[in-house]
């Protein structure tokens, strides 16, 4: 945070955008020093939902930590499963069969669409519009039904295993997904007409909360926040993993860097994820979904490993330090929203409070992922 030196003669009061607030989507507290409606200094206070996943990693075996990855960012939990599974597979050198890789990409992209739909509903709710939330949740329920039929969970998935996935997808999942994509494609124009072209939303988001590329680099922001400021950085293309090179999709990038740009990046990403899911379903190979010789007890070689995946909110990285036993020695979770939120204090300096809330909505925060 640039140490902004405020002259003392200014009469300010402290307002708590506290742990229980509809706009913080969880228990984030922002201590705002206010001059009337203007924010003089914003200081996010974290730790209200700190559950210490990292220490749990140290006294659980490798496989027992998988449910935790589902409870970090529960809106796009499958990419966290994917990150953790890939990190361990790289360390141990396990080969994942082709079909399992395709199932992983399809379910992760479906989960990304569900996460963006919920963000869309909650974000427009922050700006005052209630009805889009109901439409977005209606679509999201379709995805949750599909994912539940395969994984068994709606939110906190624990579907991936080291070496594949534990349950194969069946035909009505495939037909259900195709129908869902047709249905969502027919509803996206309605969302754009009703919300994106709405003059109130444009007035609330255009040129509000500009985030420059230089600020993104200093804070390490990734994901839609970075792509809204004109940088084409997406781990799926930047560091191709799994079977993403087989799909042809592009990365929506907007250069304005304001809240409207970040909003449009996420809306276009839903379209790209649908393209990936369709291609994934068309090219789905036959074969096993679990590696033949996946070891039951995982004992990766000594040393540390880093693995990054593109979660819905940015690049989620896992640093595993293993000392050869079956419990990790140290397990660091690099959460994307932790870095995205760290630039909030500098980004909302001198803004009006409602604009700062619009900016916070476009950062798409999930607080248990920040506090870990």
């Amino acid at each position: 945070m640039s140490a902004d030196v405020i002259d003392k003669s200014l009469e300010t009061f402290v307002l708590n955008l506290g742990p229980q607030h509809p706009a913080t989507h969880g228990v984030l507290r922002v201590k705002l020093t206010m001059d009337g409606e203007y924010i003089v200094h914003a200081e996010p206070v974290l730790g209200y939902i700190h559950r210490m996943h990292e220490k749990m990693g140290e006294n659980r075996t490798w496989a027992q930590f998988m449910p935790n990855t589902g409870r970090l960012d529960y809106l796009a939990a499958l990419s966290y499963n994917h990150g953790y599974a890939m990190a361990a597979e790289r360390a141990e050198g396990i080969e994942v069969p082709e079909r399992a890789e395709y199932i992983r990409c399809i379910t992760v992209e479906l989960n990304r669409i569900a996460s963006h739909l919920l963000w869309f509903g909650a974000f427009v709710l922050d700006l005052g519009g209630f009805t889009p939330l109901l439409y977005a949740f209606d679509d999201r329920e379709q995805i949750l039904d599909l994912l539940e039929s395969v994984t068994g969970a709606r939110l906190t998935f624990c579907y991936f295993r080291f070496g594949g996935v534990y349950n194969d997808i069946d035909d009505n999942f495939i037909t259900g997904t195709r129908e869902f994509i047709k249905r969502l494609r027919s509803r996206m124009p309605m969302y754009h007409d009703l919300v994106t072209k709405n003059i109130i939303l444009i007035k609330r988001l255009k040129d509000i909360g500009p985030i420059s590329q230089e600020m993104c680099r200093r804070y390490g922001a990734t994901g839609p926040v970075l792509r809204g400021s004109g940088v084409n950085f997406d781990v799926r293309k930047h560091e191709p993993y799994s079977v993403y090179p087989e799909f042809d999709f592009d990365i929506p990038v907007y250069t304005e860097g304001d809240s409207m740009a970040r909003y449009m990046v996420r809306m276009d990403e839903m379209e790209q994820s649908m393209r990936i899911v369709e291609q994934g379903l068309n090219k789905l190979p036959e074969g096993p979904v679990m590696a033949a010789k996946a070891p039951k007890i995982l004992k990766p070689a000594k040393g540390d490993y880093y693995c990054a995946v593109e979660a819905a909110r940015g690049s989620f990285g896992i640093r595993l330090v293993s000392d050869g036993t079956n419990t990790p020695y140290r397990l660091k979770l690099r959460s994307p929203t932790f870095s995205n939120l760290s630039l909030f204090s500098e980004a909302c300096h001198g803004m009006l409070l409602p604009d700062a809330l619009a900016l916070m909505g476009t950062l798409d925060l999930v607080i248990p992922e920040i506090d870990r």
């Binding site: 506290g18 742990p19 229980q20 607030h21 509809p22 989507h25 969880g26 228990v27 730790g47 209200y48 939902i49 700190h50 559950r51 210490m52 220490k55 749990m56 006294n59 659980r60 449910p67 935790n68 409870r71 529960y74 809106l75 919920l118 509903g121 909650a122 939330l133 109901l134 439409y135 949740f137 209606d138 999201r140 329920e141 949750l144 709606r154 939110l155 906190t156 607080i367 248990p368």
Partner: protein
Amino acid sequence: MAPLDQVLALGRANSLWPMTFGLACCAIEMMAAGASRFDLARFGAEVFRPSPRQCDVMIVAGTISKKMEPAVKTLYDQMPEPKWVIAMGNCAISGGPFVFPGQYGIVEGADKFLPVDIYIPGCPPRPEALIEGILELEEKITGSRRWPRVQCG
């Protein structure tokens, strides 16, 4: 119960206004319960009030960390009488999956410091479970159950 009490209880039971008090994953299931498919509005509970002064039920949905505990107490006190508490999810019942030998950060269960009326197990519990919890609370308030009970098995 005296007839006036019965009338009051019926009125209170069918207009339980929950407080938007999502802590973690269960909050998303609470929102899903309030949204279009599972529709809490059928039971008069779809008005999620952000301010504690205007709500009757505090649904503790998620893990309560030691840093958050004073805030939960303050919010509970600021709610006007009569008020009830629903502990939603394993974290609010007993600390859930985050209880391990070295856990310093969370309060293991909302009933450690709040008078909890209804416990809804699950991690996260499905929206139908939350609706069943609200029906259970209505039965606790009015003494009789107006909605059919699901006989499973």
